[in-house]
Amino acid sequence: MASIALKTFTGLRQASPENHHSISLQKAVALPSQTHRRIQIIAGKTSPKITGRNLRVAVIGGGPAGGAAAETLAKGGIETYLIERKLDNCKPCGGAIPLCMVGEFDLPLDIIDRKVTKMKMISPSNVAVDIGQTLKPHEYIGMVRREVLDAYLRDRAADIGATVINGLFLKMDMPTSENQPYVLHYTCYNAKTGGAGEKRTLEVDAVIGADGANSRIAKSINAGDYEYAIAFQERIKIPDDKMKYYENLAEMYVGDDVSPDFYGWVFPKCDHVAVGTGTVTHKGDIKKFQLATRLRARDKILGGKIIRVEAHPIPEHPRPRRLFGRVTLVGDAAGYVTKCSGEGIYFAAKSGRMCAEAIVEGSENGKRMVEERDLRNYLEKWDKTYWPTYKVLDVLQKVFYRSNPAREAFVEMCADEYVQKMTFDSYLYKKVVPGNPLDDLKLAVNTIGSLVRANALRKEMDKMSV
């Protein structure tokens, strides 16, 4: 009888697996006080109250995802531990953040090194198109240094009450039974003792894996693998007069010579430019692609000195399993990088925040134990909010990055003002806005026209026996 009452209680929630819920509800059937609570539909109501302490959550990885998650957890009154292996890490990264991130995460404006307001897209046959005329004066793409951004988010979390630990996560012991803690083994680095560091353990109730593309947390929960791209980048210090050209301009080069499935870029950083390229399918040829990118931009970076060479993996799609028990993945560890543009910083921070919010809500500010279905709420919310963005970018990549004619068509399309407005609106505010249907129709016709023309030229090119 009590179980029937509880079943209707679960029936009012979302259509997540019912059998799952009934299993975890069984243990709460014995408590008669639960039945008159079924009017209140709050997550985690049936999980046990924690006495004497707050919920303990460990965030592994102190990048944007980890920093944002730790801040939200600490604000929610949860005992938070943030474990980061290198507090001054200069993560190799494009470094571009959309406008909405500055507002949503209250970033101070001095974190942003440069405000990019113009972009140049350059096709395989060097047709160059300027985009950015539709930007309003207050709109820009922010270029940041990762070490500055990451440190700011971490320090802010620490100020609110999170404990930042400088350590390297080694392995994790799964809980032996329901509601038992996870035991994390890590090497703690102490600035005073220096050297190799000492092994320590930490008991926590939930774990957020924010440790990046080669996530160890993902390995310990058998999250599965993803395809990834290699992004290769050279930081080049160019003479001042050439740097003026890149004052607030970023360039994107497309072409088979530059990358078979991605693009080459020249992004301005604080006092130098980053020239790089990436690929998924031809990782072995990355150096060749980098040379081609440098060639395409040759006159604009002539006389520059290479100050740093770096490479990093970029996930192409989410891992098959992003959640296991009370361990969840966010950011690059989960694989939240968009296709086509390869943007990851904003989504990492946002997913960290969303996951932390789900934990705070599910545990009622740390008073109750959190459960897997609370974390699944985060996955649901994330998928629902950002699925359109990811899908649209995936379609764009599949259609426009597949061959040189498609890239030519892509660059031609970017010259259109409507396209520019839609692109920037969706990039800067992370909302896919439908737009005017008549303009959409015109856009569709123009796109098809460009693609047909470019492919017709390709057929003509094939006929030539050069």
Binding site: M174, K300, G304, F324, D383, Y390, E412
Partner: protein, 237 residues
């Protein structure tokens, strides 16, 4: 008449890559460390790989500047007497008093082919201003005569003839009657669309592949949700 300058200019463009060279590349070669071939042979894949490897070694040794001679790219660049200031001079494509759009299409294709084989630097001083949208749509249609159009028309005609015959045999409707009948007209519409989509047997597979590719990303995202039932209290697989 117009074609001769094209071929001769292309001859010049491509012959520069062989032994008959202009003095400048020689000088550059002497200046640089001499490990680099300044020739660009048409079979580029092999040579580019070698050049790339040598250049990588060089940059690894010295962690060097971006020098002009380090990345020669195309020595000559794309040269054509009708390509002026980043666009095609349409006045030079006039044949018999009429605009020769075919020539424009061929010339642009040649330029793109050249750039594909010898990528050039995208210089701000010489931007590419030509846009293919300047060529009218009917020029494209007239230019790309599909040999398969003949095949498809023939097949459609045969199918049409035999369908008309068999429908007549089955329903006693002659051709005049068939064109008045709604079902027949609908069947005709479906057949026409089918012929457009499924021209050859490989089109079936192609469409299947397109459908798979379009939904692959969705499947990757939904993978987390498929594991739900498996993760209730289970140990990692």
């Amino acid at each position: 008449m117009v074609s001769i300058p094209i071929t001769s200019s292309m001859q010049i463009a491509f012959s520069s890559q062989h032994a008959t060279k202009r003095p400048q590349p020689q000088a550059r070669q002497a200046r640089s460390s001499g490990t680099m071939p300044a020739t660009h042979v048409v079979t580029l894949n092999v040579k580019q790989q070698e050049r790339a490897e040598m250049l990588v070694d060089k940059s690894n040794d010295t962690k060097d500047e971006v020098k002009r001679d380090e990345m020669e790219g195309s020595v000559l660049g794309f040269v054509d007497e009708r390509w002026k200031k980043g666009t095609w001079d349409l006045n030079m494509f006039v044949k018999d008093g009429k605009m020769d759009w075919d020539g424009v299409i061929v010339a642009e294709a040649r330029r793109r082919k050249f750039l594909e084989l010898h990528p050039e630097t995208a210089a701000n001083q010489a931007p590419v201003l030509f846009r293919t949208s300047i060529i009218p749509w009917w020029a494209w249609v007239m230019h790309s005569h599909l040999p398969e159009a003949e095949l498809l028309n023939g097949r459609a005609a045969m199918v049409g003839f035999f369908m008309a015959y068999s429908v007549d045999a089955l329903t006693q409707l002659d051709v005049v009657g068939q064109t008045g009948n709604f079902i027949c007209k609908f069947g005709l519409l479906v057949t026409v669309i089918g012929v457009l989509l499924f021209r050859r047997t490989q089109d079936f597979e192609n469409l299947q592949k397109v459908a798979d590719a379009a939904t692959f990303y969705d499947k990757q995202w939904k993978a987390s949700w498929q594991n739900e039932d498996a993760t209730t209290g289970g140990t990692p697989k």
